[in-house]
Symmetry: C3
Subunit: 137 residues, 3 copies
């Protein structure tokens, strides 16, 4: 058994949660693996990953709003501000969520619960091109 991996890029047009469950499922399908594990890794420190409720969009809006309030921009003690007021909050929000997610595969499918979706959490205001690596074993 080796590890099958595929990278993909996502252009984020706005701050907040962007669902990537479909793209991850596609890699699992392409691998042909029946049972095993899948890892999603994001190669950045100002965007991150999380698994969240995929049904009601207000759950995602509330989650985004909470993180905005927990890590407000323009803190007087921030020194790392050369890239703008959303730079340092982005790093902090990344540290509070995930850079890497491992999910079981059973019968050729991700073992996600009914209400679980995989999301890229973009923390920067401006559009960014984000690189992700999906590994399956």
């Amino acid at each position: 058994m080796g590890v099958y991996s595929q990278s993909f890029e996502l252009c984020t047009s706005r701050k907040g949660l962007h669902e990537i469950t479909g793209q991850v499922r596609e890699v699992v399908r392409a691998s042909g693996l029946g049972s095993g594990m899948c890892n999603v890794f994001i190669c950045h420190t100002s965007a991150s990953l999380c698994i969240q409720e995929n049904a009601d969009p207000t759950a995602r809006a509330d989650l985004e709003a909470f993180f905005e309030r927990l890590v407000p921009p323009d803190q007087p003690y921030f020194q790392h501000t050369s890239e703008g007021p959303d730079d340092m909050p982005s790093h902090i929000k990344s540290a509070l969520t995930e850079v890497s997610l491992s999910i079981p595969i059973q019968s050729g499918r991700l073992s996600l619960g009914t209400w679980q979706g995989i999301y890229l959490f973009e923390h920067r205001e401006r559009p960014h091109r984000r690189k992700l690596v999906v590994s399956v074993w």
Copy 2:
């Protein structure tokens, strides 16, 4: 080498940390694996996982109290409230902790530190039946 996996359910009678180290160890033992990795995955977005101090129960009580204060219910901006005031805080607390934990196995045993226990962190008040998948490779 393939991946050996087993699912189990836990009925949570109350909010807070519920130790599951024993159940995870049982799967590792059943797998017969000498050295490798173990992953614990929770199939929900309103309960999560964490590794915490397993000795003094006050450490867990303080951790639970901190999360209650960090993510209070009834925030004026919460829109996702149809399932009650503990619904949205549950999703946020899940995003702040873990949905997936990977732990090394050495000499047939989880390589946990002396004071590390694996916990299911239930964020809902009412009892819930929670599904977990343990994978070993």
Copy 3:
């Protein structure tokens, strides 16, 4: 394919982020693996792991300052204080960050983004000897 693992210890002389990317890379190189996965696990509940910006040191200083403010010592509701005022905040900061990190390996190298470094996040004031397990498969 089996799992290759190596443990190492780090003596932390001060609170905050300590880069361990070099030590993890060394284990990947020693494993001789071309493509696969690497996991870093910390065997403690008062120090943790994170992947953060490795260029500008002010990003790390700001991150440390944020966590100090988010989880202040001497909360009136803390009961777990026998090991000092930084004991309980350490457990909470660990729960908010990572105990385990899985990173893809491609062409014999960690697939980290340009600005990503792996850090041990020491939450205790006093020097500690921290044990980490690096697993490669």
